[in-house]
């Protein structure tokens, strides 16, 4: 059997409906929300601020510290609140996906704290988190070379698709999930993870698809930020 029609009727290279918003958390120095299909991520940036404990301080550059967390009620089976092995790993790769566009040497001894909360989950949460986080960093006025956009691609049964939903991830004939983050201006992939089984050809196809997807998300990020700052100027 092959996957000829997507469960929700999308084209294979079509992502779910997206929505973005800036300034969703007043207390934060920068914040953003990103929604893709039924997945909702919010991100807040605090800093650059003094890094504690002090022994972690680096006089030559600041650090970006990420924390990714899922609300207990964001998933069908209640998740125990608090950190997990999964969330620690995602926090780490999120920081690594964003730091290439930052110039941390500008912030000696400081930390930029980035918090991501998933309030509703239907696959692709780390990508939604990175997309929101990138906008939150820009909103906080952190110097950036570019925004980072993120989308998951993968293979469902025998088809390469963009933006897998939960039903596709759980496809009975197997699914390969490839979360990607990409910086469109520098053309750098800053996040690449994979679990599953794909051929070299399929991977290439998936990466091309993710580039297209990220460029689409990038446009939304830029537009949302521009609209926000235009409104502030009035």
């Amino acid at each position: 059997m092959s996957y000829t029609k997507r469960f929700d009727g999308r084209k294979f290279d079509e992502m779910r409906k997206t929505e973005a918003k800036i300034g969703v958390i007043k207390r934060a120095d920068g914040s953003a929300m990103f929604k893709i299909g039924d997945t909702i991520a919010i991100a807040a940036v605090y800093g650059p601020r003094k890094l504690h404990p002090r022994f972690l301080q680096n006089p030559s550059k600041g650090i970006l510290r990420c924390n990714y967390d899922m609300a207990s009620f964001s998933v069908p089976d209640r998740k125990r609140p608090g950190p997990s092995r999964r969330s620690s790993e995602i926090s780490l790769v999120t920081a690594k996906s964003l730091s290439p566009v930052l110039d941390l040497s500008k912030h000696p001894n400081a930390v930029i704290d980035l918090f991501i909360e998933i309030t509703q989950a239907n696959a692709g949460t780390r990508c939604a988190g990175i997309t929101a986080a990138s906008m939150a960093l820009a909103h906080a006025g952190i110097t950036m070379k570019d925004l980072v956009s993120s989308i998951s691609v993968g293979k469902v049964s025998d088809k390469v698709v963009v933006d897998l939903d939960k039903e596709e991830e759980d496809h009975e004939e197997g699914a390969t999930d490839i979360p990607i983050a990409y910086s469109p201006r520098t053309k750098d992939f800053t996040l690449l993870q994979l679990d599953g089984n794909v051929s070299k050809k399929e991977l290439k196809e998936a990466l091309e698809m993710s580039k297209k997807g990220c460029e689409e998300i990038y446009k939304l990020q830029v537009k949302t930020l521009k609209d926000h700052f235009k409104g502030e100027g009035k």
Partner: protein, 254 residues
């Protein structure tokens, strides 16, 4: 941070930072489109303070002393995303107090008929996990959390339970019935003045704080906070205000 003396001098003149009366709440809003995967959820905003609460049901064993009663478990996560003052890590004292005050309001008012959450006496009961997440702390998290919690519970649906398994995402037609709507009101005292719904900057100058949970004018839970004591007449005055506020806040719950 604004000058503390300025905040105090304003209150001395019966004025407040946000241009409201001493016994006036900021704008309180409830909404429900928080998370599709929750069995019940609500978002509460009080001014710029924002919290979300989700309810998830699971089946577990009852406590031996109440073999025919279900139970609620309230947790609160003071997300570092919501304030520069919150740190990562296991819940600290403030989060624990917050969760327990919300828990007591619901439990002690008997808002829920816990006996109706029993599936099989002594063996299987419904457990309602009420999980609170703060999104933006601009003061008075307690009232926002308590209001969101009761609103989320009021809109919660019980999942289907078949062959000893909970079918998450599928719902039985059993609704959660609330016999009462406990409402929590937090008041602060500064010098001789009493204010309702202290904002973040006001919280930093409070001498003491009193949280009162009432339902139909009866008091079901109280919690005093802050460094200084309260006089008898101050307490009764605060309770009177809380009971008056109950009526207004209750109307917001749909």
């Amino acid at each position: 941070m604004m000058n503390k003396d300025y905040i105090i001098s304003l209150i001395e003149q019966d004025k407040r930072l946000s241009n409201r009366k001493l016994d006036e709440y900021r704008k309180v809003e409830l909404s429900y489109d928080v998370s599709k995967n929750a069995d019940g959820a609500a978002r509460c905003k009080i001014g710029d303070t924002e919290v979300i609460v989700g309810v998830k049901f699971n089946v577990g064993e009852p406590y031996p002393d109440n073999p025919d009663e279900g139970t609620i478990i309230v947790t609160a996560e003071l997300l570092p995303l919501s304030s520069p003052e919150f740190d990562l890590g296991p819940p600290g004292a403030q989060a624990t107090e917050l969760a327990r005050v919300v828990d007591r309001g619901i439990r002690e008012s008997k808002a829920l008929d816990f006996k109706k959450l029993c599936i099989k006496k002594g063996e299987k009961v419904w457990m309602a996990f009420i999980d609170i997440y703060t999104i933006n702390d601009d003061g008075n998290l307690i009232d926002a959390c308590a209001l969101a919690a009761i609103a989320a519970l009021k809109n919660a649906k019980l999942p289907k339970y078949e062959k000893e398994r909970v079918l998450h995402g599928e719902y039985s037609n059993k609704k959660i019935e609330l016999t009462k709507l406990p409402i929590t009101c937090t008041l602060g005292k500064i010098n001789s003045k009493i204010i309702v719904d202290p904002g973040m900057q006001e919280e930093s100058v409070l001498d003491s704080r009193l949280t009162v949970t009432t339902a139909d004018g009866n008091i079901h839970a109280m919690q005093k906070g802050g460094e200084k004591g309260l006089k008898m007449e101050e307490i009764t005055q605060m309770v009177d205000i809380a009971i008056a506020k109950e009526k207004d806040l209750k109307k917001l719950i749909k």
